[in-house]
Subunit: 414 residues, 2 copies
């Protein structure tokens, strides 16, 4: 399969910005950047091409809860949301996962890391629409027996495909006990599975773990499970400087979710710059559509920069850091490739209209992507060399899903 | 002139959300809400109708600088930007004002308060496209002779029209000296002109004013000019609690610009909740497109909520506060009307597609407007009962302006 993104206004190619060139895609990879044209032609005048964005942490199945409870801090929010989730029919969760997958593609994400209770549905839908997904069952002791989660996780191994990678999800240190951690560690070590966990998100969590174990959350996790390159730590607004050093040493990945943390008033200071300087793989995630409330990685990039500048009274984190987190770092962490548009690289691409991002020139492209763009500017999304989304092609599909969700919500009076 | 917004999915009418009704507009006012149909029909199935949003502080003429300098704090930024502005041809500034007016309408603003050097151009363009504008010359002593600014401001009085209201702009306490303040006070008292000023934006500004005068910025301004309902104070990230009391007593308006303040690392803590509780008219502004970098009041509403929750570790400021600031409070401050969609009220309206905001029901509309919507969701903008923007109708116009700006930037190597 071969096609050409023709006459692209701008292509973000590593640290350079190319102007007015063609990008040829062949069998999932970038074949050339220049004047060559091969196969079908996709007109890209008035477009910017960038590496596809990775949403490194979300809960796709929670879309039905978008706008249900916006005024709460994390503790109150979890308590109320869990009450609703316990009673929710699987249909609603699955419709949400499907709508979220489409929204992700429509807003330019080419890969998502999910934490929800329906990973097989996530896989099925991701494969149907063509997006990369990392998903798996969740250790959450109040609701699921750890041994059951372990068993179901093992059954996911055979499901691995070109787009789907099974992972282990551990909700958090307050949501999963020692047995769950031990099982997660085994799954990680025996089967090489990636483990995703919410960590050091609130001051309360840090206080509780420290009181109970004498250690800060990351220290405690480190001492119980060891950590390695396949551990994926989410939030860390309350991490200490000495914990950062352990993360760096073990090569774990970190995901920052600024919008959700701000909305849920978890406060803290996510040390973006210190982590990047230490060489930690910092990535960005929207968190779920019930706490963000979008799935828009463009908006998340801007929020990450703004939050750093506000919290640290310092402007040294900028557009380039946000772009690196959502592309280069995330690709490296997930093993997708290098997250750079170069010959021979994986063809995961996001193509945006310049329409709402002008005036532009080569030196202003990165700025426009972070400080102006939103998912609404996305025209095409290319995953593994396939055009998964083209503006106008999935809108009626998602409208139908929203209508079904709204009908279910009405029945449940949510 | 009469027309009907027909079959609106949702109408935000005060604290209520109406479903599936028609909104009839006659001679600039809302004639009815219900089943009546009069004049031309505008199909609004799949749409939400809300009071038109007010952008209470911006610098329209700076659009050409969008993306020119994103990595700087306010002091460095002003220094570098002022250097560029001194040399800039008026054409570029005027093209920017025109493009910014169109962007404002396209993203759902029905009124803007401007601070830039070309108020007559702003008036002309605002009247051409149909948006309410408050604009006036700027007291900025390093560049303009205060007596010249005074004279030119007086000449603006005769320009007042249905859409244009002349105001006095005072850059800041560090940009304008005692003579400028005295002249601004006279213009305010003699001619009833509104005075807009940047105040208490940085710690450095507070320190300098306090060192020089023994007073905090607002205290100093209060003691020199007196303040009243026509004073319009912008930023106030570093205001003290006792200054808030003076603002409340004098009835001055306050504008918060969270995105710009965060991007320029001015830090501080804007006391949104305390001010609202004290009864101060708090409004929101995007600030200029060179420091935001959008003119999108929807995004500003979300940022205002997120920033409060982050800075105060408290979730009590929510969607309703942001909506009130951008509508009810701003309308009251500017004397446009009440900012509520009711029979007999001014027909300044923003109409959005629900497409990217679902799932929706009446209790989720406010949330979707603040936490999901962006200007890209706007389909129509109605100002004084006239359809000033309809999706698809101004895009080629603005594309042409962007191209002209880009050509000028190339010549100037900016």
């Amino acid at each position: 399969m071969e096609f050409t993104l023709r006459r692209c206004d701008y292509i973000l190619s590593g640290d350079r910005v190319l102007q007015g060139v063609n990008l040829v895609i062949q069998d999932g990879f970038i074949k050339s950047l220049g004047s060559e044209v091969e196969g079908d032609e996709v007109e890209c005048r008035g477009m910017i091409v960038i590496p596809g964005l990775v949403n490194s942490h979300t809960h796709l199945g929670m879309l039905y809860l978008r706008g249900y409870l916006d005024d709460a801090d994390l503790d109150l929010w979890l308590q109320r949301i869990w009450e609703v989730e316990r009673e929710i029919p699987e249909t609603l969760m699955n419709l949400s996962t499907e709508a979220s997958i489409i929204e992700s593609l429509m807003s330019g994400s080419t890969a998502v890391v999910d934490m929800y209770f329906n990973p097989l549905k996530a896989k099925e839908v991701a494969e149907r629409y063509g997006i990369r997904i990392w998903a798996g069952y969740v250790f959450l002791d109040e609701v699921y027996d750890p041994f059951e989660v372990d068993k179901k996780t093992r059954s996911l191994i055979k499901e691995k495909s070109e787009l789907f990678t099974p992972i282990v999800n551990v909700h958090s240190l307050y949501g999963a006990g020692e047995m769950s951690l031990k099982l997660a560690k085994q799954l990680n070590e025996e089967l090489g599975l990636r483990v995703q966990i919410h960590l050091s998100e609130t001051r309360r969590e840090v206080y509780q773990v420290k009181s109970r174990t004498g250690k800060f959350p990351l220290e405690y996790l480190h001492s119980s499970v060891g950590l390695n390159r396949n551990w994926h730590l989410v939030h860390l607004g309350w991490v200490t400087s000495w914990e950062i050093e352990a993360i760096r040493r073990e090569g774990a990945t970190v995901t920052h979710c600024p919008t959700s943390n701000m909305k849920l008033a978890t406060a803290g200071f996510f040390p973006f710059k210190e982590m990047m300087e230490a060489g930690v793989l910092v990535t960005l995630g929207t968190d779920g559509p019930a706490s963000n409330n979008t799935l828009d990685v463009f908006r998340e990039m801007k929020e990450a920069v703004l939050l750093q500048r506000n919290n640290y009274w310092d402007y040294s984190v900028g557009a380039s850091h946000a772009l690196r987190a959502s592309t280069v770092n995330a690709y490296s962490s997930l093993g997708i490739g290098r997250g750079r548009i170069k010959e021979g690289e994986t063809a995961d691409l996001t193509v945006l209209r310049t329409q709402r991002l002008r005036p532009l020139n080569t030196s202003r492209v990165a700025s426009a992507l972070v400080f102006n763009a939103t998912g609404a500017d996305v025209e095409f999304t290319v995953v593994r060399g396939k055009l998964s989304f083209k503006r106008g092609k999935l809108e009626s599909k998602i409208d139908g899903l929203y209508s079904e969700i709204e009908k279910e919500l009405e029945k449940l009076r949510l």
